[in-house]
């Protein structure tokens, strides 16, 4: 890891942890074991996973199918009706998705709409794991708008930590409507997120 990346990832980790999230850095080789360990430890009962190019390359679906067949909720929509799809997402206790960019200054995950068609995945389940490549790390939000991947016509979502509120006497409570638990696995894979 070059020095600049090191500083950025350290900053990113610090920010995520300040927000009560979790962040681990790993090689692509160890990713599979890490995912399996994480899910086993947490004892998740129903899992939903995003499907896109980045996660296909990491063979996420394969990993989940071989270790967690009973927990995995298949989301493919053709043949499934919307109500069933939604109730699966609403009942799931764990979701795995990828992010397109990581922002070090604020501990933020960036999701470009065109790469994440099932954005309810990062919203409904109470526990969320996001996988992203170290090379998708940028220093701050301003940098995002200099990236060539950003199209003019693109919906985006930024996620910075778990869902939270302080509406009751300014006391912090996590997991209001969105995820209560947020974990990020940063890999040093070569390809950027999405596509």
């Amino acid at each position: 890891m070059e020095k600049n990346s090191e500083k950025l990832i350290e900053r990113f980790k610090k920010e995520i942890e300040y927000l009560s999230g979790n962040c681990q850095v790993m090689t692509t080789e160890t990713l599979s074991d890490q995912i399996v360990n994480y899910i086993t430890e947490k004892k998740f009962k129903s899992i939903v996973a995003e499907e896109n190019g980045f996660l296909d390359e990491l063979n996420l679906n394969g990993i989940l199918r071989s270790h967690f067949t009973s927990q995995l909720l298949e989301l493919r929509r053709s043949g499934f009706d919307e109500t069933a799809y939604r109730s699966k997402l609403a009942d799931a206790d764990f979701a795995i998705a990828s992010a397109d960019f990581l922002i070090a200054e604020t501990g933020t995950l960036v999701f470009l709409g065109k790469n994440h068609l099932n954005q309810l995945l990062t919203l409904l389940p109470p526990s969320l794991l996001v996988i992203a490549g170290l090379d998708s790390m940028i220093s701050d939000l301003e940098q995002l708008y200099h990236q060539t991947d950003i199209e003019e016509q693109s919906s985006m979502t930024f996620i910075t930590g778990p869902s939270r509120t302080a509406d009751i006497e300014k006391i912090l409570v996590l997991g209001v409507h969105g995820p209560k638990e947020l974990t990020v696995f940063v890999t040093d894979s070569c390809s950027k997120g999405g596509s």
């Binding site: 929509r77 501990g107 919203l123 016509q153 919906s155 869902s163 300014k170 409507h177 995820p179």
Partner: protein, 465 residues
Amino acid sequence: MKPKTSEFKKELPKHLANQTMRQNTERASHLSLAKRNERVAEIPEWESLREQAHEIKKEVINNLEHYLDEFEKKAQENGVTVFRARDAAEANKFVHEIAIENKVKLIVKSKSMITEELGFNQYMIDRGLEVVETDLGEFIIQLADEPPSHLTAPAIHKSRIEIAKLFQEKLKIPYSEDPQVLTRAARKVLRKKFLNADMGVTGANFGIVENGSIAIVENEGNVRMCSTLPKIHVAFIGIERLIPKSGDLPLFIKLLTRSATGQKLTSFVSIIQKPFPSKLIDGPEKVYFILVDNKRSDFLEDRYLKQALYCIRCGACYNTCPVYQNIGGHAYGWVYQGPIGAIISPQFLGLEKARDLPFASSLCGSCTFICPVKIPLHHLLLYQRRRIVDGNLTARHEKKIAQGFVFAANSWRLFTYMGRMGRVLQKLLSKYISPWSKSREAPVIQRRFFRDWWKTKETESHGKK
């Protein structure tokens, strides 16, 4: 929400006597300020950011028609239906028609001050629709049937004991003061609503002209729910909320989140561009942007007041205002509170109806100092005061006394005479001159005036020579 701004003076003692509200408001304000200060200290170039934002807003407000046309065009190219509403009646009617067309029964809403301003909820409820507030603070006050008392923390005037009792009564859950338990109860109730809603209504923090998109910041996730789950998403946008380019967004979001809640970024930021008619993509099939004027154009006619349109609704001016900290949000009688509310309520509601608000200020200037877009707030308060006095809307005897004073002050003899008379009459008159002396003791006018002392000193030193 029915404005109660004309009852400001009358209602004030009631608010000042509400110890729970005062404690909660003061505590919450100080907490928010402390966090804000921490975040601002991290940014050495903060002042220059304020300046940049001020200039961008100035440019937009000075060319608003052009930017509105451009925004509308771009949004429509993306498949969004844009409606430019002149006032509350037009805005509400349009959305109601969409609701009828699409057989909408249940609307879920995220926190939006402009919908409070338009009386949207009541309009829909009166016509048989169910409207559910999903922001936790708004959900609480909806259950309590109260108006919000702050921009970003609408239920901040309530203690957890009050909320616990409320939830026990209205949600039929066992009594608990634990915020975690209360939040979980709200989550459960609201999730059902999100999943069954026919329409989601949100506001918008910014409208990005370059690509016709809107940006909404939030911490809970309810905005994402409202703008993704129901088949229809309606976003209300004040016409003044536009920024020219998407590259401007980082600047404004940075200023907003750090000033409002002392966060680097809120948990979620959604940049919304278009509908998704395909069932394979999560998102609404139809998206509507309602661009609301509702007297905002009136501000444009006054070259000082139009600066009030730069406001990004962060609420920092509320938090720092000693008056707000003590009287709380409800005292301001309408949806916009604190220093900015005291300036714009008279514009929206009429100088006559809100004439006491600009006077509820010590002009300490803290609001001007803290405003992320450098609106000269306390100068505008003074400006509104002048307009109110010029409009003969203040107490007549005040004007007479001021005129009398000016007359007397122009002659030193008369001024001295008034001073000596004042000393005699002070004790008698203080009760009647001003409510100021009801809770304060005015310094007693000394028998020996400065000029007397000076004369003595001069004679002494002449003597010494």
